[in-house]
């Protein structure tokens, strides 16, 4: 048996969570460093995964591990990564150290003079972050539906505490009001996702019932089900397949989030601290879109095709609706949240366009959106922590006093509006092209989203960064070294992936093609054949 790399990648942050939680109350700094070290170790492991992953190898999954878990119900502890999984694991492992660094002071006790043996918010904060990381990583690696489900749902617990327990301190509210809004956001997050998970649970059970009925033994193994379906041993009745698909899709749509089940995201992102908001939108939500590709499409290709028109429309609504609402927001973090909804619309649109470009773009978009939103949100968080307000109207002329902050904010914003040359452009354009080649009208309508994106980003930048210097920001310090260390690598990545995304697409592409072949869809062919000779004009 080979080294269980995938398990270890998830186990390291889990161990980190325990280690961080065990740090004595008084030694907050030690807790922070523990968390950072463990998250970096995870990053190293994710790097090893990437290095050992062979994009051209045959077979859907690599680095697989398989052990019996609950044999009575055919549950196996099965892990394995395809190109998409390994890249998203890497993204998660990459972002968490930045999240830890950015949240360095977010969970410091308000009054340092209240020493308590029991109350250890700092330790808890970082431990929960690592816990989320561990669960997200294993969700990306699970190839057993049951294992995936367990961690997909378990993720909610640490997230709930992160949102509800460590809110944003900004705003002119009393501590009680803030706590009430925080708790509202956390409960909303939990309820939405639990509702989604419940429906999914029903579908998971249904899947088991169908396999038990037809294969003789129930199984949750993705590979086995896909193989059985391929060889004709397993056949879903149309209605069953659609019902199961909807069950899975609903959970992922809530997580993603797709209009109209999106309203938990602005609350959660608004109330959580900026690093936690990054964790939500850049990492946790990706599990939803990832799972659409891995489970919805591969398990239920027929139903996926059947549902495509509706989902495309919903995705379009998400794109435009999210963007329009972002324009209308007065709160910086909520604005970014709505922008994320718009971007998730693009990702889902790309997935269900069922073209190589669309899905390739969508998977790349997951990575790029993770990085760009992380950059934007973290800079916004730094900004908010300086002034103590989330309202756009409370800022103005920041670029005069904190030019580096403003500059990084602008670059992150430009990435959000998909400026060519920055990473998200490539993916967004691929999604649009992929959609357009199958659904021209949808592609054209989605393009309106890029105009609206420019609107909300530039309005935000203009109102906060330019104009006469607001009295309250006059003494605002520029980015500190720690903060620059968070933002600069992200921006460098955005630039690099914008110019040279090939290292990522190279890994993603075979996985996307595999998915496409599972769904039995091929790209539409161009109307005019152009020979190679003609290319050389």
């Amino acid at each position: 048996m080979s080294f269980p790399l995938l398990t270890v990648t998830a186990a390291v942050p889990a161990a980190g969570a325990l280690a961080t939680a065990a740090v004595p109350a008084a030694r907050r700094a030690a807790a922070k460093w523990t968390a950072l070290v463990f998250s970096l170790a995870t990053l190293v492991l994710a790097g090893v995964q990437l290095a050992r992953f062979d994009p051209d190898a045959a077979g859907p999954f690599q680095l697989t591990e398989s052990h019996a878990w609950i044999s009575d119900f055919g549950v196996r502890y099965e892990l394995g990564v395809d190109g998409i999984g390994v890249v998203l694991v890497a993204l998660t492992a990459l972002l968490v150290p930045f999240v830890v660094l950015a949240g360095w002071h977010d969970a410091d006790p308000l009054e340092p003079a209240t020493p308590s043996r029991r109350w250890r918010p700092t330790q808890g904060f970082f431990a929960l972050i690592l816990m989320v990381e561990a669960m997200v990583v294993i969700s990306f690696e699970a190839t057993d539906v049951f294992v995936f489900y367990v961690f997909f749902e378990a993720m909610l617990i640490p997230m709930y505490f992160l949102i509800g327990g460590f809110g944003d301190r900004a705003g002119e509210r009393t501590e009680d009001e803030a706590a009430a809004q925080r708790s509202y956001a956390a409960v909303k997050f939990l309820l939405y996702n639990l509702a989604g998970g419940l429906v999914m649970l029903a579908a998971v059970v249904g899947l088991y019932a169908v396999t038990a009925d037809q294969l003789g033994h129930g199984t949750f193994s993705l590979t086995e089900i896909v193989q059985a379906r391929g060889s004709g041993r397993l056949h879903f009745a149309t209605v069953t397949e659609r019902a199961l698909f909807l069950g899975f899709f609903f959970a992922f749509a809530v997580k993603a989030p797709l209009w109209p089940v999106h309203t938990w995201l602005p609350n959660a992102m608004g109330e959580a601290t900026a690093p936690v908001a990054v964790l939500i939108t850049a990492v946790v939500d990706k599990v939803g879109t990832f799972a659409m590709l891995r489970f919805c499409l591969q398990l239920f290709p027929g139903a996926s095709t059947w549902a495509t028109p509706v989902i495309v429309v919903l995705a379009l609504i998400s794109i435009l609706y999210g963007a329009l609402l972002a324009v209308g927001q007065r709160d910086i973090k909520r604005l970014i949240a709505y922008a994320s909804i718009s971007h998730f619309g693009f990702i889902i649109l790309g997935i269900f366009a069922m073209t190589t470009q669309g899905q390739g773009g969508a998977t790349l978009y997951m990575v790029n959106h993770g990085i760009s939103t992380a950059a934007l949100m973290l800079v916004a968080g730094f900004l908010i922590s300086r002034r103590g307000s989330r309202l756009i109207a409370d800022y103005g002329g920041v670029q005069k006093v904190a030019p580096v902050l403003a500059g990084t904010f602008l670059v992150a914003g430009l990435a959000t509006l998909s400026l060519p040359g920055l990473a998200p452009f490539v993916s967004e354009f691929l999604v649009l092209v992929g959609t357009f080649s199958r659904y021209p009208v949808a592609g054209a309508v989605a393009t309106v989203g890029i105009v609206l994106a420019a609107l909300y980003v530039l309005v935000l930048y203009q109102r906060t960064m330019t104009g006469p210097v607001e009295e309250s920001v006059r003494a605002m310090p520029d980015l500190r070294v720690r903060e620059l260390a968070v933002v600069a690598p992200l921006i460098a990545l955005l630039l690099f992936l914008g110019v040279y995304p090939k290292p990522v697409t190279r890994i993603l592409d075979p996985a996307v093609e595999h998915t496409m072949s599972q769904v039995h869809r091929t790209d539409p062919q161009p109307d005019v054949r152009v020979s190679n000779a003609e290319g050389a004009k």
């Binding site: 999106h262 354009f429 080649s437 592609g443 203009q462």
Partner: protein, 645 residues
């Protein structure tokens, strides 16, 4: 040679990177570093040009693929360059004028504490613009296209502390984004039609695609061109863009970036030629804009905005020419180049005037400046003569050909287009004469200090504010570029026309057909001269003979409308801004009340239901006992039933 093309883009890009990330260490040397980068790329351009001249007509094209950019399935976008005579022309114009304006900016921005960044942005612009004209596929062109948009955004809003500048920058970017939407849909359509969007395959295979498809692509490209080149209906941003520092207006909003639309139409000639309807749209846009811009230019008192109107109008000429097909491509590009010289010169002249006048931009507060700034006066004057098409100067050669080509379109269309072009020439003569007279002739209206309640000035650039203006000539770094550009305005057109040199140079790329004008070349020239004289005379009668009032008279309805950019902004405001605001506001409300409301309502009704259910839990043991007892009864019943079944 291949590597040089890459360097051409990389050098200014590296300059931009160094200047933007370099920190305060580069504050002192930054301007010179930026200028050096521009100059180096100009030198590279010249080397490439020389190399190109050394080759035969058909071998002049140079294609380089640097690396695969986005390879996903059948979708292949490469970072590759395509250098032919057309792009070479642009390269020389961009780097040449660019270098001059860098040099000029050293003087102009000398007192601005953020000048390092200014030069960084300028270098960024150069890189993006070069990428735009050198790209060998539409997607890479799009990158450059948005890149120049970004640079334009940053430079218009360079004085960010002024809300007007920030707003203007945002507006420019947004309007351009609308155009970009057209561009990206066009690329998508190309991909679905041809399976590729590289220039070569698309343009060669264009004639095999259906006309409807081509028309769609062409119209979308036109939309993109309208955005970038400030053509009706996306012209509204250009006037506001004058909030940027004057060198920016000269380089980006006069000489280079705004002409990208012309480049796009010319480059995509094969597509447009396959879609006559789209060509009609192009010439219509061109004709309408050339009149629109000219009329706006007549009414503006702000010298830069008047020039901006003029730019719009001149680009209208170019678009018109480009829309005419092979008849007009060469002249469109020729006018583009000559316009690059004289309009940049005019803007630099305006900058020089403002530099000497405490950043006053209102021409009604100028007057009689020829005595104080002789160099500016002479170079501005030469630019003026060139733009109105004074015989022998650059503008004459290029504009005349366009008018001729417009008439050559034939039929009613030809007459309308030619008439519009002629009328435009007359108005051009009128408003440029107006600018000239109001600025350099007449009485000195700046003597009484400007009343403080009309602060229409650019208060920015450092400490040069307040007090009565002391008109003075600008430093040498500013005058030298002006002189060079003036020389260009005078001789470029002539040089190009000697032996039809320019035509022969470009013909292999764009192709050329001689139009047969119903009027004949001489008639057209005569007519042009006539309207020119008319326009100048009218302006002289109105502004030269009578003193110019220091505050603007109310004017006719047309004047008032023209002052407000022919109500375009008002339309935008009412329809788009207000409508959009209402839309977003109601959506925010709906999101809260409806979407969230449904969810919260569900939660509330569940809560209400459980409130009712809770009453069952009344705490009385006996009630619980009843339910237990009843439950046991039900169980027994169930058991019995199961046995019975």
């Amino acid at each position: 040679m291949e590597n040089l093309i890459g360097l051409l883009v990389l050098v200014p890009l590296a300059g931009a990177g160094a200047l933007l990330c370099g920190g305060r260490r580069l504050d002192r040397g930054g301007p010179w570093l930026g200028t050096l980068a521009a100059a180096v790329s100009f030198a590279l351009g010249v080397v490439l040009f020389a190399d190109m001249l050394g080759k035969g007509g058909e071998e002049r094209t140079l294609d380089v693929t640097v690396f695969q950019w986005v390879p996903v399935g059948s979708f292949r976008a490469d970072v590759g360059f395509h250098l032919d005579q057309l792009s070479m022309t642009f390269v020389l114009l961009i780097t040449g004028v660019g270098s001059l304006i860098h040099l000029y900016s050293i003087g102009y921005m000398a007192h601005d504490e953020r000048r390092r960044r200014f030069f960084g942005y300028l270098n960024l612009f150069l890189a993006a613009m070069l990428l735009l004209v050198l790209a060998d596929n539409y997607l890479l062109l799009y990158v450059g296209w948005e890149g120049v948009g970004l640079a334009s955004y940053l430079l218009i809003g360079f004085w960010q502390h002024k809300p007007s500048a920030a707003t203007a920058a945002k507006k420019a970017f947004l309007v351009n984004r609308v155009g970009d939407m057209g561009m990206s849909i066009a690329i998508m359509l190309m991909f679905t039609t041809f399976g590729t969007f590289a220039f070569g395959p698309v343009l060669t295979a264009a004639d095999r695609a259906g006309e409807g498809r081509l028309t769609a692509i062409a119209l979308l490209l036109l939309l993109a061109a309208c955005g970038k080149s400030a053509q009706v209906p996306l012209q509204s941003w250009l006037g506001d863009a004058m909030e940027g520092p004057t060198p920016v207006s000269a380089l980006i909003h006069a000489a280079t970036m705004v002409t990208a639309g012309v480049y796009l139409v010319t480059r995509s000639g094969a597509v447009f030629e396959g879609a006559p309807d789209a060509q009609t749209a192009v010439v219509t846009v061109g004709a309408v804009t050339l009149l629109f811009g000219a009329i706006v230019g007549c009414a503006k008192d702000d010298i830069k905005k008047a020039l901006a109107g003029s730019t719009m109008s001149q680009i209208g000429y170019m678009i018109l020419a480009a829309g005419l097909g092979p008849v007009g491509y060469v002249f469109a590009i020729m006018h583009l180049v000559t316009h690059g010289f004289f309009k940049a010169g005019l803007f630099l002249g305006a900058g020089s005037v403002m530099h000497g006048m405490n950043d006053e931009v209102d021409m009604r507060r100028y007057g009689g400046l020829r005595k104080y700034m002789p160099v500016t006066f002479v170079t501005f004057g030469l630019g003026y003569l060139a733009i109105i098409g004074f015989p022998g100067l650059s503008g004459f050669f290029s504009k005349d050909k366009i008018i001729e080509a417009a008439f050559a379109k034939g039929g009613t269309e030809g007459w309308i287009l030619g008439g519009a072009a002629l009328l435009g020439a007359a108005i051009t003569a009128y408003y440029m004469t107006r600018v000239m007279i109001m600025t350099f002739f007449g009485e000195e209206r700046w003597r009484p200090a400007p009343s403080p309640d009309e602060p229409s000035a650019e208060p920015a650039a450092g400490d040069r504010a307040g007090g009565m203006p002391h008109p003075h000539e600008s430093p040498r770094t500013m005058t030298i570029p002006m002189i060079v550009l003036a020389l260009g305005s005078v001789f470029a057109g002539g040089l190009f026309s000697v032996n039809d040199a320019f035509l022969k140079w470009l013909e292999p790329v764009t192709g050329h057909e001689e139009g047969n004008s119903p009027l004949g070349a001489l008639t057209v020239t005569a007519a042009t001269m006539a309207v020119l004289v008319l326009g100048v005379a009218l302006a002289w009668a109105q502004y030269g003979r009578r003193p110019v009032p220091a505050t603007a008279p109310p004017g006719s309805a047309l004047t008032r409308a023209a002052r407000r950019d022919l109500l375009q902004d008002d339309f935008n405001h009412v329809v788009l801004v207000r409508g959009g605001e209402h839309l977003t506001r109601s959506l925010v409300y709906l999101d809260h009340k409806l979407v969230d409301g449904v969810v919260n309502g569900t939660a509330a009704s569940v809560g209400g239901l459980s409130g009712r259910m809770r009453r069952l839990q009344n705490g009385y043991v006996r009630s619980y006992a009843v339910s237990m007892f009843g439950g046991a009864a039900v169980l027994i019943a169930a058991t019995l039933l199961m046995r019975a079944v």
